[in-house]
């Protein structure tokens, strides 16, 4: 860690909307929830979500594979599943790399 900055949460996002746009705290929190809900809904329907300048949330379908219980060493099948990955935009990568 270079600096200890805290964890940003929904409340902080709502606070930023409240401060910058002047909407009430409750309304700001609703908007934050609404952004997340729409992204979840799209991905629930199998759509990727692409936010220019920020990055893309990409769904990948994984085939069944054989895993191993790390404690017991017993082989168990890992069922096929859909996973969500995040690919940061070039812009975001550059901002983070600079630190």
């Amino acid at each position: 860690m270079m600096r200890s900055v805290g964890t940003l949460t929904r409340a902080d996002l709502a606070e930023a909307i409240n401060r910058k746009l002047g909407f009430s705290r409750a309304e700001s929190l609703d908007l934050v929830e609404s952004v997340l809900a729409h992204m979840c809904e799209a991905m629930g329907k199998g759509e990727n979500v692409k936010i220019s300048g920020f990055g893309s949330f990409i769904l990948r379908d994984k085939k069944e594979r054989i895993g191993r219980n790390p404690k017991t060493g017993v082989e168990v099948p890992i069922t096929p599943r859909r996973v969500m990955t995040f690919r940061a935009s070039q812009l975001l990568k550059e901002r983070i790399a600079k630190g």
């Binding site: 930023a16 769904l59 983070i96």
Partner: protein, 119 residues
């Protein structure tokens, strides 16, 4: 609704045409703004756009500061250190030093993972 700027419509068609991965359907930023506008008819279009801007800008800024972002149910963003290493210019095969850097990392939340796999 249905007020696509021509540029946005083009970007959307281009996105579809590229069709990365097995899923070629994608929600893009302008569609997220439209969905939000539909839920909040009392807001002006520019206000809805600003909400989306602030949402992602706050996350990006916190990550650039080396912090963490936790959105329960959705997922958590953080950053990780990558050591310096020797890379290669893919065209010439020439070795080039890649400096140490910080990279973004995202871990989907439990509810998100479950939602993607319910039948």
């Amino acid at each position: 609704m249905g007020r696509h700027a021509p540029g946005q419509e083009f970007a959307r068609l281009a996105d579809r045409a590229v069709g990365r991965g097995s899923l070629e359907n994608a929600m893009i930023r302008s569609e997220l703004v439209q969905a939000l506008a539909k839920d909040n008819p009392e807001l002006r279009a520019d206000e809805v756009d600003r909400v989306v801007d602030i949402f992602f800008e706050e996350i990006a800024t916190r990550l650039a500061e080396g912090g963490r972002v936790e959105l329960r149910g959705f997922g958590a963003f953080s950053t990780r250190e990558r050591d310096a290493r020797m890379g290669r210019n893919p065209r010439t095969g020439e070795p080039v030093p890649v400096p140490a850097k910080r990279v973004p990392y995202f871990k989907p939340g439990k509810e998100m993972r479950e939602r993607l796999n319910e039948d």
